[in-house]
């Protein structure tokens, strides 16, 4: 075996090991962040495993910039990340993912985290008119996951969690983790949530604690 071939095998292997160690560190950091926020959250070992890609690496890229359009050709969202590693099972791991969701061509919501994972899953839309339920992207944000209104959006809603998932096609984010939502003097924490960003509606599952500061 000549040296270039060894190097060709060595580089992806080292990249995978590096990502493994990085995600371990990200999980530890997410736990520390949750504890600081007063949320009794712990990322379980199986979740740590879930957050990694499976199978050999297919591709690796840096300074990722992707623009996604919906079926009508309208700008749906942009995805930026410092790096992306794509695995054989079609999942991708991202470092410093930044997604901007658009509404009528204007940036509506910004979502960021330390790490992300793109995976395919069966469509959430239960549309009987569709003969074949196509898979759709689901983006998991891991570590300091944050949702904020973009500049063009008049909303002041901000949402923070150690981890949540985004289904871009229906602009829905959800998680079973502790979450904090801040909006116009309202500060509420809960465990488990689902937010429909197109309808401005939020559902919190349990352990609700909140406060409201009257305007001075």
């Amino acid at each position: 075996m000549n040296r270039p071939r060894i190097l060709a095998l060595l580089i992806p292997t080292l990249t995978a090991v590096g990502l493994y160690l990085t995600l371990d560190w990200a999980d530890d950091r997410a736990i520390a962040t949750s504890e600081r926020a007063g949320m009794a959250d712990t990322l379980q070992a199986e979740q740590t495993l879930e957050s990694r890609g499976k199978g050999p690496i297919q591709a690796y890229s840096q300074e990722l910039q992707t623009t996604i359009f919906d079926v009508d050709g309208a700008l749906q969202y942009t995805l930026r990340a410092d790096s992306q590693t794509q695995f054989e099972d079609q999942t991708s791991l991202l470092t410093q993912p930044r997604i901007t969701l658009f509404d009528a061509g204007k940036p509506n919501w910004n979502i960021t985290a330390d790490y992300g994972r793109i995976e395919r899953h069966p469509s959430a839309a239960d549309d009987p008119s569709r003969e074949n339920s196509a898979d759709e992207d689901l983006v998991r944000f891991i570590g300091n996951a944050s949702l904020k209104a973009a500049l063009a959006n008049s909303s002041t809603l901000a949402l923070q969690s150690s981890e949540f998932s985004l289904i871009p096609s229906v602009e829905t984010i959800r998680s079973d983790k502790p979450v904090r939502v801040i909006d116009q003097g309202i500060n509420q924490t809960a465990v488990g949530f689902e937010a429909n960003l197109t309808e401005d509606s939020l559902y919190f599952e349990k352990e609700i604690r909140g406060s409201y500061e009257p305007p001075r």
Partner: protein, 184 residues
Amino acid sequence: MSHLANALNTLAGQKLHALLLGFAALTLSSNALSLASDKQEKVTWEAAGNSNMTVENGLRTLTLEDSVIVTQGSLRITGDRAIFEYAVESNELNRITVYGSPVGYSQQLSTDGENVAGTSKELRLYSDENTSDSIVELIGDAAISSPDSTMNCAAITYLVDLDLIREAKGPCNGSLSSTSPQGN
């Protein structure tokens, strides 16, 4: 017979209503006002069940379910379900409505430790648009007890800042009594 009985009941109810209003106006006590600092305090809440937050027609609605506790300073309200309504534009908390079996309400009236307490099936807490006075409406099997009085009615409207029962709707088949704050 039933018509006559109803008429008598209505008449009795109206008289009692008038009596209650007259009595309520007298319950104003200069040294028994709610803690002025309560209104400046943070409103806090907790619930064991789920919660929904929606924005519609300029109104943000926050709903809490199951073992709800709402506090603001010395104010404490407990119930099964609470709805908070905020004006999105002004960021004002317009109204809190709590349902329960029953809803519990209590608040410290003064630094002397005098309290007002009440129960009902539904409670509405809001500020008067003109005077900014805090108003508590107890609706359905309403009962309220302050150092000066105890009332049981179908519905009671209580001015918190003034310790004044502004309106009491009959039938008021419970007791209407005046008790000494000292318990004598």
